[in-house]
């Protein structure tokens, strides 16, 4: 995912640029695809949270389930990303990319079952 530029004044912008460059060079297209989805989910979550803070929390369960679904989908996708990341191969000895995707699908189904049930 594209890095959030660190807000501290001490951060040299060149560091961010190197990071961006390194990211672009080192990351496979597959992971970039997941990252794009993650960014979309993050913005969706931010919009919902802003709505909750600025406008109303009124159907609180609806907000929670909507926000929960984005956060949940985000972390499940992030999990998928780290599981299929070739760099992490040593950590996930027993999780093949196919298995990781099956886990991701199952987790998402269970998550959205509860989201749907909680929507009200």
């Amino acid at each position: 995912m594209p890095p959030k530029p660190a807000p501290t004044a001490a951060a040299p912008s060149s560091a961010v640029q190197t990071l961006w460059k390194a990211y672009n060079e080192q990351t496979s297209d597959r992971l970039k695809f997941i990252d794009a989805f993650l960014v979309f989910l993050m913005f969706s979550g931010i919009v919902q949270f802003a709505y909750c803070v600025l406008v109303t929390t009124f159907p609180y369960n609806a907000f929670l389930s909507g926000f929960g679904s984005t956060v949940g989908q985000f972390v499940l996708s992030a999990s998928l990303r780290s599981q299929v990341n070739p760099e992490n191969k040593n950590e996930f000895k027993e999780v093949s990319p196919e298995r990781a995707f099956a886990d991701f699908a199952l987790g998402s189904i269970v998550l959205h079952f509860f989201v749907f049930n909680f929507l009200g």
Binding site: T8, G68, G72, V110, L111, F118
Partner: protein
């Protein structure tokens, strides 16, 4: 390599593994059988009956669920409880237990097995104890190996600390909750080990089941984040931790909010904030790791570290700020009472008044765990030897649960599983060391050998050395130990040493079985609805006063008759007598309970308007003075006074119920407030008549009750059971002529009353 005893050498590895797995399955089946069988003492010695207090409510709710279906149960408003307020049952229960029984009931009926719902409820706890044994086996297997798993399963199957809450008929939330606790932990460990979102999801689903089943789910809610936090602080963050924790937290939290009784608590109360905080921390740490993998500049890493710490501090500050602002509810009183044992007595007497919320006495650790309690620390220390991620979990669990078990008797239940796991690890290490046939090689120094289970005292050292090679963490320590121990040959030679240790170990196991059987049959299998005593010839005598009284109520009073009693008996009255009650074991409304306490502890004149205002028709008290049943209302009376005093401090004062010397007495020295209280009068009304002029002794308190007992003007004795354990009084309606009942009573008794003035009766004694 020399061996102490001959080993068969012509076995193929496949045969060994197959035989071992067959033996494991047989052993697990036998353990399940033993776990179920040892819980059946209650049914065999008494009958298939629901025990104690809370199970009666669960049973009643389950009957509604089985008869009317889940939707009716969900929307059930019970107008007979907490009369006249009523109780929204669907929204104020943990429905997991009832739902489980309902599913089993419907399943069996779908198979055309017409099993009575009561028998399902009675047998649910033993059935789930077999599952607990299996879950503990799986959990311990992850800690050490299969043999330790089998030992742990055997331990948890029969250990009294768990049996005490799961005998047949003890139909309470804990019956299924311990299985769910262990299985959730197992899924969590598995998810962490493999980095699998599947097991994380499974952990979340079982966590949801646990939330639906028991209020103790908060223990899981805080244990798993604590484990995650400790791992991060130990520098053991891995992507596996991220996957496991994130998938568990997100699904688990969202699903726990589906239970109406829990509602929005997971995002709004302090008890759940640790889990959220660790979740946020993990996201940041994972992000930092990702960035670090792309950039290796030292400056950037320092910057990230600063960002990380700032984010943590900001999050903590936000939490405090939100708590002060009220967006996050602060810790509840129940939680405070875990840290400050005196808190509950001062602020929430209702919680303190429950006997299972008292601090644990030392002997009960031995009573409930026997030899496991001294193997437990050894097992925890063995966890430090390897200190993989899952061992950290056991260590944290052991520390937390030991503390909680010391604070509350009830939480012994959460300590028991970890004690079984740790003891099994210790015990199986002992057996591994001494059953192993290998003898130390004379030519070889023990520290150089690669096999960890080489020899007795040296085995631990070699193990440490062997464990240190893959993980560099403990290497300094083991080097130190290796340097300190002179390089002498150590080991177990011959059969005699092995024999001595193993016979001793088996002896401990055998005594453990005897102890468990004895404790279960004598201490934990009483239904407490039915009491047992022994006749002079040793045969059993059943005291069935409770049911006698409840059935009397059921058959002799109108269905709308409101019964007032202390809250302990509310569920039983609702379940067995089917009559409305003022207060019951739900204890959600302190004022209502205090009202009953006030009525019980004030004089008749004060109590009568309270009774009339609440439409009370019958008052029920438990009196053990005749039989020596110590759990009666007079012994609980001080709590009624205290709870009433909490609401009406100027009307009820606890010191008034003691003698000037500060004693709690019921004989002629009892204080006036005590003697005039409704509870005292109802308990001892006509008690002395029973002794026909002889000294009337209260056998619980060993005090002589005055010859002239209390009189009642506003109540009539309606029914007293065989052994006087339950006494029921009917509340009189207002006098038809508008007099107050006291003067009406005096008028009705008229001259007779004057003739039989106390003076004349007292004369013969002098």
């Amino acid at each position: 390599m020399p061996t102490a005893f001959p080993l068969p050498s012509d076995l193929s590895p496949a045969t060994v593994t197959n035989t071992a797995s067959l033996l494991r399955i047989v052993a697990l089946a036998l353990i399940s059988g033993a776990a179920i069988a040892s819980r059946l003492f209650a049914v065999i010695n008494f009958e298939s009956i629901i025990h104690e207090f809370d199970p009666w409510f669960n049973y009643r709710a389950t009957r509604v669920l089985a008869a009317k279906g889940f939707y009716e149960f969900w929307n059930w408003f019970d107008p007979t409880a907490w009369y006249p307020l009523g109780r929204v049952v669907g929204g104020t229960v943990y429905p997991g237990l009832m739902a489980t029984s309902g599913v089993i009931y419907n399943f069996l009926h779908a198979l055309n097995l017409p099993v009575d719902i009561r028998n399902i409820c009675v047998m649910l706890a033993p059935g789930f104890s077999a599952l607990t044994a299996w879950a503990t086996y799986m959990f311990t297997k992850e800690m050490k190996d299969e043999s330790a798993g089998l030992l742990a399963a055997a331990f948890i199957g029969i250990v009294p600390g768990y049996i005490s809450r799961s005998v047949a008929g003890s139909y309470d939330n804990e019956a299924i909750a311990i299985f769910l606790l262990m299985f959730t932990f197992y899924c969590w460990i598995k998810a962490l080990k493999l980095g699998s979102a599947l097991f994380g999801t499974l952990a979340a689903v079982f966590y949801f089941y646990m939330v639906a089943a028991w209020g103790g789910y908060v223990f899981i809610t805080n244990m798993i984040p604590l484990h995650g936090l400790v791992l991060i602080l130990m520098g053991r963050f891995t992507s596996r931790l991220y996957v496991a924790y994130s998938s568990w937290y997100v699904i688990g939290t969202l699903s726990s909010m589906q239970v109406p009784f829990v509602g929005f608590q997971p995002v709004s109360t302090s008890e759940h904030m640790a889990a959220l905080g660790v979740f946020g921390l993990l996201q940041i740490v994972a992000f930092v790791q990702l960035v670090r993998s792309h950039v290796s500049s030292k400056q950037f890493q320092d910057l990230l570290f600063v960002v990380l710490v700032t984010a943590g501090l900001v999050g903590f500050a936000a939490f405090i700020g939100l708590t002060y602002k009220g967006a996050i509810a602060p810790w509840t009183g129940r939680f405070y009472s875990l840290w400050d044992t005196g808190y509950a007595k001062k602020h929430i007497p209702i919680i303190a008044s429950v006997s299972e919320h008292q601090p644990t006495a030392w002997p009960s650790f031995f009573m409930d765990l026997q030899f496991l309690i001294f193997l437990f620390p050894a097992g925890v220390i063995l966890c430090f030897h390897q200190l993989r991620d899952e061992h950290v979990f056991v260590i944290i669990y052991a520390v937390m649960a030991s503390y909680f078990a010391g604070v509350m008797v009830r939480l012994m239940l959460t300590l028991t599983p970890v004690v079984c796991v740790a003891s099994a690890v210790a015990f199986s290490t002992l057996l591994d060391t001494y059953v192993d046939a290998a003898e130390p090689d004379d030519a070889e120094a023990p520290a150089d050998s690669a096999t960890p289970s080489e020899s007795g005292a040296a085995a631990k050292k070699t193990k440490k050395a062997a464990a240190a090679t893959p993980s560099s963490s403990g290497s300094a320590l083991s080097d130190l130990v290796a340097a300190a121990v002179p390089n002498k040959k150590k080991g177990i030679y011959g059969l005699d040493t092995r024999f001595a240790i193993i016979v001793n170990a088996i002896g401990m196991l055998a005594f453990f079985v005897f102890h468990c059987t004895w404790a279960t049959s004598s201490a934990y299998s009483s239904p407490s609805v039915v009491l047992a005593s022994q006749n002079p010839d040793g045969s059993q005598h059943i005291i069935d006063d409770f049911r006698e009284a409840y059935y009397w109520l059921r058959q002799n009073t109108p269905e709308t008759a409101v019964v007032m009693s202390w809250w302990d008996y509310g569920y039983q009255i609702a379940g067995m007598a089917d009559r409305p009650t003022l207060v019951d074991n739900n204890t959600w409304n302190n004022t209502h309970i205090a009202t009953v306490g006030k009525a019980m502890s004030s004089s008749e004149e004060v109590a009568y308007p309270i009774l009339r205002k609440h439409d009370v028709d019958y008052v029920l008290v438990i009196f053990g003075g005749l039989l020596g049943y110590s759990g009666d209302d007079i012994n609980k009376f001080l709590w009624m006074v205290r709870i009433a005093q909490g609401v009406w401090p100027e009307e009820i004062q606890e010191p008034n119920y003691f003698t000037p010397q500060g004693e709690y007495r019921v004989d002629e020295h009892a204080s006036p407030a005590m003697k005039n209280s409704l509870m005292y009068k109802m308990s001892y009304y006509r008690f002395s008549e029973l002794f026909g002029g002889g000294p009337s002794t209260d056998r619980v308190r060993n005090q002589q009750i005055p010859k002239v007992g209390p009189t009642l003007d506003y109540l009539d004795e309606a029914y007293t059971t065989d052994n006087w354990i339950v006494r029921i009084y009917q509340v009189r309606s207002e006098d038809l002529l508008g007099r107050d009942l006291k003067s009406a009573n005096a008028f009705a008794q008229g001259k007779k009353r004057k003739r039989s003035k106390p003076m004349s009766r007292r004369r013969p004694i002098v």
